[in-house]
């Protein structure tokens, strides 16, 4: 057995720093993309990441693109806030009493499982091609996980906590305000994270569908004019937007998990 094995030492270094290995993998994929786009694939279809990056200023210079991105961001924010508010309200209304919960939860779950994409054209028909339909579709996707998690958070409270509060003289309002509501918060934030993913999906689907304005207009334009550089640039920016939104919500969820019993 050799005393010092450089190969082993190297392996150990990498074993400890998984994030480094992942970074290398991602860098490798980017390199592969770069080479493939430069030398193997027709430039009409694929652009190397270097070119995409360098062309970002020109993308922003394209008339209407910054506005479209900004509007999309606003749609996401508004849809999320509305979905959170409605989801919380409905979740509490359903979760707090037995009869509404037993009756409506199956309906909610059924709706949650249906492919909402089939009614996207209906949303656009009703709400028009402007931000309203995108927001509405986003809300429609986002509320369901929020409702479900709020109901769960209200329902799975240990009965003894409510009993103890009542024994100490808490009124029904006090039980809600000081016991049920704080107990539900971690579940609510899980729901918010899932809801954010839903809102992202809904808003982006609607945006891509409406090809006469907004992001959908530009994706169609870049596709039809075989401009993979600008298209990839736009997609990348939207992907970054999505990752950021998801990341923020994930942080929020972890922050509120602090005391979680299960």
């Amino acid at each position: 057995m050799s005393a010092y094995n450089p190969w082993r030492a190297l392996q150990r270094e990498f074993a400890c720093r998984l994030w480094l290995v992942r970074l290398i993998v991602i860098a490798g994929l980017l390199a592969w993309w770069e080479i493939a786009a430069r030398y193997w694939v027709d430039p009409q279809f694929l652009s190397p990441p270097s070119r995409v990056l360098l062309s970002l200023p020109s993308l922003f210079g394209t008339k209407g693109v910054p506005a479209a991105l900004w509007i999309t961001l606003w749609e996401l924010t508004l849809a999320f806030v509305i979905a959170a508010a409605i989801g919380l309200a409905l979740g509490l209304a359903i979760g707090l009493s037995q009869l509404p919960r037993r009756s409506f939860v199956p309906i909610i779950l059924l709706l949650y499982g249906t492919p909402q994409i089939t009614i996207l054209p209906l949303f656009v028909l009703y709400f028009g091609i402007g931000p309203a339909s995108k927001i509405a579709f986003g809300v429609s996707h986002g509320i369901f996980p929020i409702i479900v998690t709020v109901v769960a958070g209200v329902q799975n409270i240990k009965p003894i906590l409510v009993v103890a509060a009542r024994a100490m003289g808490a009124s029904r309002w006090q039980v809600f305000r000081w016991v049920i509501f704080p107990h539900m918060i971690p579940s609510f934030f899980v729901g918010l994270r899932l809801g954010m993913a839903g809102v992202l999906l809904g808003v982006l689907l609607a945006e891509l569908y409406v090809s006469s304005a907004g992001i959908g207009y530009f994706t169609q334009m870049f596709t039809e004019s075989f401009d993979p550089t600008k298209l990839l640039g736009l997609i990348s920016l939207l992907a970054v937007m999505a990752i950021t939104c998801n990341g923020l919500l994930r942080r929020a969820e972890l922050h509120f998990q602090r005391w979680r019993v299960n």
Binding site: V21, L99, S103, L201, F222, I235, I243
Partner: protein, 255 residues
């Protein structure tokens, strides 16, 4: 034996459910029948029903259904093969799992519908762009579940099989496969559901055939009653497909 109080509660909630749904349908009917609402926006339920029957009887849905089903089938087949293979290979090593699982989960968290325009650029508006999107999106849950299924098999099972002299092939067949099966099957079911959604979604957005496209086309033409009929049809098809997959999953589990 259910206590009388429980039975009463179950009946009441069932009653409330049905009552709610019935109220919605009646509201729909009376709102449209009163003539106050533009029939282009909200058609009469009877008209929708009439359209649906017409579509079903004439078989007009068939070409679009064929396109959609074939896209789903091919996309799912591709993602199955890739997902299972790659998932299994990664699961062979704890190190690889540690490196790749978070990466795959991270990429999956991006709404991949964003890649649709890119696929349309590559493959045009035909079936292949939908298949590509469906295959790419559903690859992830299948791969992730396969990794989870094979990668987290209780070490003690493997150790005891090895101690009894099991070869690699025997280990795979008698220990790993049965242990991993439930999780992998769940991944396949989720992947299937996601494929259906991805195909419907991409057809709606950018296609010239398929059920999703048909719905979008009818919306453009403001033929709302027929569109409602097709929406109902599509929802039922999706439900049937998912139910079939669920049955396949539970049958396979029982083996």
């Amino acid at each position: 034996m259910i206590a009388p109080r429980q039975r009463r509660d179950a009946l009441m909630s069932r009653g409330l459910q049905l009552g709610f749904l019935l109220a919605l349908i009646l509201l729909w009917y009376f709102a449209t029948a009163s003539g106050r609402i533009n029939p282009v926006l909200l058609p009469n339920p009877l008209t929708v029903w009439h359209n649906l029957v017409q579509v079903l009887r004439s078989g007009e849905y068939w070409p679009d259904l064929q396109v959609t089903l074939s896209e789903i089938a091919v996309a799912f087949a591709i993602s199955c093969v890739n997902g299972l293979l790659l998932g299994y290979l990664i699961s062979r090593s704890q190190y690889l799992i540690a490196v790749f699982e978070p990466l795959l989960a991270g990429i999956y968290s991006i709404p991949m519908i964003l890649f649709l325009p890119l696929f349309v650029l590559f493959f045009g508006l035909g079936s292949w762009s939908k298949i590509a999107l469906g295959a790419v999106i559903s690859f992830f849950p299948i791969a992730l579940n396969t990794i989870a299924g094979f990668g987290y098999v209780d070490r003690i099972l493997i150790r005891s099989a090895r101690s009894m002299g099991a070869s690699n092939a025997q280990l795979l067949r008698y220990v790993l496969l049965p242990a991993a099966l439930p999780v992998v099957l769940t991944g396949l079911r989720i992947g299937f559901t996601v494929t259906v959604l991805a195909v419907f979604g991409s057809e709606t957005i950018a296609s010239f055939a398929g059920l999703g496209h048909r719905i979008a086309q009818l919306a453009d033409a403001m033929e709302t009653a027929r569109m409602f009929a097709y929406i109902a049809f599509a929802v039922v098809i999706a439900a049937v497909l998912n139910a079939l997959m669920a049955v396949v999953e539970s049958r396979a589990r029982r083996q």
